[in-house]
C-alpha cells in the first residue's frame, strides 16, 4: 500500500470508528470515492504523485474524523428548541420549592443538637447539602425533559405550544409604584405603637405572657437573665427600624431600602439563632420548683425556637433569592 492510500485508509478508519455499523461501510465507500477523486484531481493538476504532507493537508481540510462522522448521524438535541423554553420555565419555577423542601428535610437532623459548634456545623452541613441535592433535582428534571424530547422527535408528536388561547392569558400586573406617603406615615404610627407596647412589657409581663404569667407563679419559675439581653437586642432592632421608617416618610422608597430591609432580616436571624442556642429560658425561684418539669419546659421551648430559626433562615434565603440579579435569558444557538 502506498503512503497516499495508507493515509486515506487510516483517515477513513478513524471516521468509521464513530459511525453506526448499519451505515458504516456505505458511508466509508462513498467518502473513499469522493476523497480519492479529489486526490487524483490534485495529482493531475500538479502532474506528479502527491506527497504525504499534501495528502495530509487535503484530509485535514476535509475535517477531523469525529466531526465528519457526526455529520452523518441523526441530528438530535438532548432537549431541542421546541421543548427547551418549557424546560427552563420548569427549572425556574420549581427551584424555590425544591430549595424549601430540601432545606426543611435536611433540617430535621439539627433540631436536637445541644452545643453551639455542633449547631453551626449542622447548619453549614445543611446549606452545603443544598448544592448536590439541587443538582440531583436538576438532573431529574433534565432527564424527564430529555425523554419528552425523544418522544417528541421520534413519534411525530403534535408540536408544542399550538393549543393556546390569547384570551386566557393573565391580566396585566399593576406596576409597583411603592407605598404612598399616607401609607408610609401609617406604617410609622403602627411601628411607634408597637414600640410602646414592647417598652411596657417589663412593667406588665402579662402583655406578652398572658395567662402564662399565672402559670409561671404556680411553677415557681421566672424568666432567665437571657431575656434581659434579648429584650435589649429587640429594642435595638426596633429603634433601627424606627430610623428607617422615619427616613422613609421623607425619602420615598429607593434602592437604599432593599439592603436595609435585608439587613433587618439578617439581624432577626441572628437573634433567633441566639435564642435557639440558649438552653435555659426559665429558672426556679425557690426549692419548691419541680425541676424535672421545668427542664422539660425549657427543652421544648428550645425546640420551638429551633423550628422558628429554620423558618426565618428560609425567609432570608427567599429574600436573598429575590435580590439576585435578574436573569436575562440569552439567545441559544442550536
Amino acid at each position: 500500500m502506498n503512503t497516499t492510500n495508507d493515509l486515506l485508509a487510516r483517515y477513513l478508519q478513524a471516521i468509521g470508528d464513530h459511525l453506526p455499523a448499519a451505515t458504516r461501510d456505505d458511508v466509508l465507500a462513498e467518502l473513499r470515492a469522493n476523497l480519492q477523486a479529489q486526490l487524483d484531481d490534485r495529482s493531475e493538476e500538479l502532474n506528479r504523485p502527491l506527497t504525504d504532507p499534501e495528502v495530509a493537508a487535503i484530509l485535514k481540510q476535509h475535517g477531523r474524523p469525529i466531526l465528519v462522522a457526526a455529520r452523518y448521524l441523526p441530528q438530535q438535541s438532548l432537549i431541542g428548541p421546541a421543548i427547551f423554553p418549557y424546560y427552563l420555565m420548569t427549572l425556574r419555577k420549581a427551584a424555590p420549592f425544591a430549595i424549601i423542601i430540601i432545606f426543611l428535610a435536611n433540617c430535621s437532623n439539627i433540631l436536637f443538637i445541644h452545643t453551639l459548634p455542633e449547631l453551626i456545623a449542622g447548619l453549614l452541613r445543611v446549606l452545603g447539602q443544598l448544592v448536590p441535592d439541587l443538582l440531583i433535582f436538576a438532573a431529574w428534571v433534565t432527564a424527564a425533559f430529555a425523554i419528552a424530547e425523544y418522544v417528541y422527535a421520534h413519534h411525530d408528536a403534535k408540536p408544542f405550544g399550538l393549543s393556546w388561547d390569547p384570551t386566557k392569558l393573565p391580566a396585566v400586573k399593576p406596576q409597583f409604584k411603592g407605598k404612598s406617603r399616607a401609607s408610609r406615615i401609617a406604617d410609622l404610627i403602627f411601628h411607634c405603637a408597637w414600640m410602646v407596647y414592647v417598652l411596657e412589657i417589663p412593667a406588665h409581663p402579662y402583655l406578652i405572657l398572658g395567662p402564662g404569667e399565672l402559670y409561671l407563679h404556680m411553677l415557681n419559675a421566672r424568666p432567665a437573665p437571657v431575656w434581659h439581653l434579648f429584650y435589649a437586642a429587640v429594642l435595638f432592632l426596633l429603634f433601627f427600624q424606627l430610623v428607617t421608617k422615619i427616613t422613609a416618610v421623607f425619602v420615598p422608597a429607593g434602592l437604599w431600602q432593599t439592603p436595609l430591609n435585608f439587613a433587618t432580616k439578617v439581624l432577626s436571624v441572628l437573634f433567633s439563632a441566639w435564642l435557639a442556642l440558649t438552653n435555659v429560658y426559665f429558672v426556679p425561684t425557690g426549692p419548691a420548683t419541680n425541676l424535672k418539669f421545668l427542664a422539660d419546659v425549657n427543652h421544648w421551648i428550645n425546640v420551638s425556637f429551633r423550628i422558628f430559626l429554620i423558618f426565618v433562615i428560609l425567609d432570608l434565603i427567599v429574600e436573598g433569592w429575590k435580590l439576585r440579579p435578574s436573569f436575562q435569558a440569552k439567545r441559544l444557538v442550536f
Binding site: V27, E30, L31, A33, N34, L35, H62, V68, R71, V333
Partner: protein, 130 residues
C-alpha cells in the same frame, strides 16, 4: 503615532463584527445551499463532481457539509442514487427524484418571492433616503 494604535479594543470589535457576520451568513446560506444542490442535481453527479460544479459557479461548499447533506436529501426522497463504475472506480451518483423536482419548483417559487420582496424593500428604502 496614534496613541491608541496599540489598543486591542478596535481589534476585538472587528473580531466580534466578523463573528456576527459569519453567523448570519451561515444562516442565510443554509437554505440557499439546499436549493443550489437540488438545482444542480437535475443532472447526475457524484459527490466530488457536484462540489466542483457548484464551486465553479461561485457556490463553494465544504465536503463535510455537502456529502452528509446528499444522504439526508436522499433519505427524504428528494434524490435517488446508484453505485456505478466510472474510471475504474465505484462511485455513488445522485440525481433529483420526481418528488425532488416538485419540491425544487416550490422552493424556487418561494426563493423568487423572497428575493422580489427583499428587492422591493431595498428599492423603497433607497427612494426614501434619496
Amino acid at each position: 503615532m496614534d496613541a491608541n494604535s496599540n489598543s486591542p479594543e478596535p481589534q476585538i470589535e472587528i473580531q466580534i463584527e466578523s463573528q456576527i457576520f459569519d453567523s448570519l451568513r451561515l444562516e442565510l446560506r443554509r437554505g440557499c445551499l439546499i436549493l443550489a444542490v437540488l438545482a444542480q442535481l437535475r443532472a447526475e453527479h457524484y459527490g466530488y463532481t457536484l462540489r466542483k460544479a457548484l464551486a465553479d459557479q461561485g457556490l463553494a461548499i465544504e465536503e463535510s457539509t455537502l456529502y452528509p447533506l446528499l444522504r439526508r436529501l436522499e433519505t427524504q426522497g428528494l434524490l435517488t442514487s446508484q453505485w456505478r463504475e466510472e474510471d475504474k472506480r465505484n462511485k455513488r451518483f445522485y440525481k433529483l427524484s420526481l418528488a425532488g423536482e416538485t419540491i425544487l419548483a416550490q422552493l424556487l417559487a418561494e426563493w423568487n418571492s423572497i428575493n422580489d420582496s427583499v428587492n422591493n424593500i431595498l428599492h423603497h428604502s433607497d427612494q426614501r433616503q434619496s
